[in-house]
């Protein structure tokens, strides 16, 4: 079943007379529990699409719906839809309030969406949530500044999970992390997808990572989707010339580990 439906999305910036078209008629679906990768060179419009889905950017035209209900701008979204779609950004540190403890950061998410707040023991619920993202209970009292980049990214994911979302929009969520930490976060996302029945719109410059975790891939260029299909087809046997150019530019490490047959 289709969870997220993006139809003919158009976003322009700048002057009304001579607008810059950042997103130019994008249509894309994400099914329940499906992971869709969105790739394309810098400036192709990926983040702008993500921001429309998260309600942080108003499109000039087109619609975004969630189970058939329109996803409006954040302020106008019914609380239930607002919590259903959560975003994880590239820079985990700057997306967390440096003055708040981790417990307070999660507490704030529960305050914003009271229906998701635990009924009983909040501390126990907090610790369970931290355990879900592979962190010890003792980080609850620490602040983002005391945590590594990977730990901060786990906190961002925990904050998103706290309100029980159905769709995670990850914009370069692992790009700023070292490979070993990146592997931990990817494993976490893949596990959570199963345990929490999450769908994901996963934006990344790293075609290898996208190949690893996406079911389907859409390739963007200058605001348009030029190719879309199962990850193993788009990234192993691209049809569009631009996808081929993108793959040609991507470096590979020869002996990168066990290849699996999809």
């Amino acid at each position: 079943m289709t969870l997220l439906e993006i139809r003919d999305l158009r976003v322009t910036f700048g002057r009304r007379r001579d607008p810059f078209v950042a997103v130019d008629g994008v249509s894309l679906d994400v099914g329940a529990e499906e992971t869709v990768g969105l790739v394309g060179e810098s400036g192709s419009g990926k983040t702008t699409v993500a921001r429309c889905v998260a309600g942080l950017q108003r499109p000039d035209a087109g619609t975004v719906t969630f189970e058939g209900r329109p996803l409006e701008r954040v302020g106008r979204r019914p609380a239930e839809l607002q919590r259903a779609v959560q975003m994880v950004f590239q820079d985990p540190r700057s997306s967390l309030n440096p003055r708040m403890s981790i417990a307070a950061i999660i507490g704030e998410a529960w305050r914003t969406h009271p229906s998701t707040a635990p009924d009983g023991d909040r501390t126990a619920a907090l610790h369970a949530l931290l355990a879900d993202v592979g962190m010890d209970a003792d980080v609850a009292d620490r602040r983002p500044g005391d945590l590594s980049g990977g730990q901060c990214q786990r906190v961002s994911i925990a904050r998103a999970l706290a309100v029980r979302p159905r769709l995670l929009v990850c914009d370069e969520a692992v790009s700023a992390l070292d490979v070993s930490v990146q592997a931990q976060i990817l494993r976490l996302l893949v596990d959570l997808r199963r345990t929490h029945h999450l769908a994901m719109l996963f934006i990344s410059h790293d075609l290898g990572v996208v190949h690893q975790i996406a079911d389907r891939v859409a390739v963007m260029r200058s605001g348009q989707i030029v190719e879309e299909g199962p990850a193993t087809e788009v990234l192993a046997a691209p049809k569009h010339e631009y996808t081929r150019a993108l793959l040609d530019a991507a470096l590979d490490l020869d002996d990168a580990g066990p290849a699996v047959t999809a």
Binding site: E41, S148, L186, H211, L251, D254, D255, G257
Partner: protein, 339 residues
Amino acid sequence: MSDVRTARTGGAPVAQHEALLQVDGLTVDLPGTRGDVRVVDGVSFDVPAGTTVGLIGESGSGKTMTANAIIGLLPDGARTGGRLLWRGEDLLHADGARRRKARGHEISMIFQDPLAALNPTQRIGRQVGEILRRDGVGRAEVRRRVVELLDRAGVPDPAERANRYPHEFSGGLRQRAMIALALAGSPSLLLADEPTTALDVTVQARILTLLQTIQQDEGLSVLLVSHDLRVVANVASEVVVMYAGRVAERGPAPVVLRRPAHPYTKALVRSVPAVRTKTALADPLPGAPATPANRPAGCPFHPRCPIARDRCRTEVPAVREVAPGRAAACHFAEEVLAP
């Protein structure tokens, strides 16, 4: 961009080259809130003439501090030890004038964030020509050379672009301007600290190709600092892997990255997914990278190492030869290397 890939094995074996730079037992101590922290702890490696050496390792492992020590850009209060032999002459202990001459003319550096490294209030051309002007080159000649340098760094329409300011350049163009600036003093060694980390893959590939072309045309040596194994695998002939301020392993890049001798390198290599085939998710290493401030006793990697034994908890492994041309700091490197 296949030239990036085919050039990976470029450069003859180390033994046939004279070492341009020998980093020998380099230490860097930085003042911390709880006393000095040794962020670079006895790092040794050679940069042979005319080759690209990759320096890899996780964030905080000391890559930047190593490069900054070489170029002499350490933070205030930093103390250094060991030797930096530049064509046999120890730069760490040379007098100030000699050091300044070496750093800028013979050795230059490009940074991850060119916007932070470039002066926002000065036209690009003026910045690129700075070192030439200081050397007393005449105005018209500076102008001519600046345009030539920008052109060589692949800046389109260089004469016009020389009059622009850094913020008017895209990320890729800024990095090219930075490269032009670094080449102005005709260096023999270029230190490149994460030169493509902020760029997307297509721009990255172009910049790497440019660096390789320049390296080959001018017989330049490059020390390429990166946390991106793919970049290093594709452009470096030698690689040095750092962990918690120390060398974990070093040797010929294609060999080390295909068949690591250190469990840490092995874990890194396994974490890099292939692009054109679907790679199974790697088993992540447990825990977080060790930092120089809380470096575990014995082998600094032991809390995360899948094959650690008792000995690893107490005895620091020395960097030792584990195969011809290869060195690793692991008590059990032979076991890791065994097929």
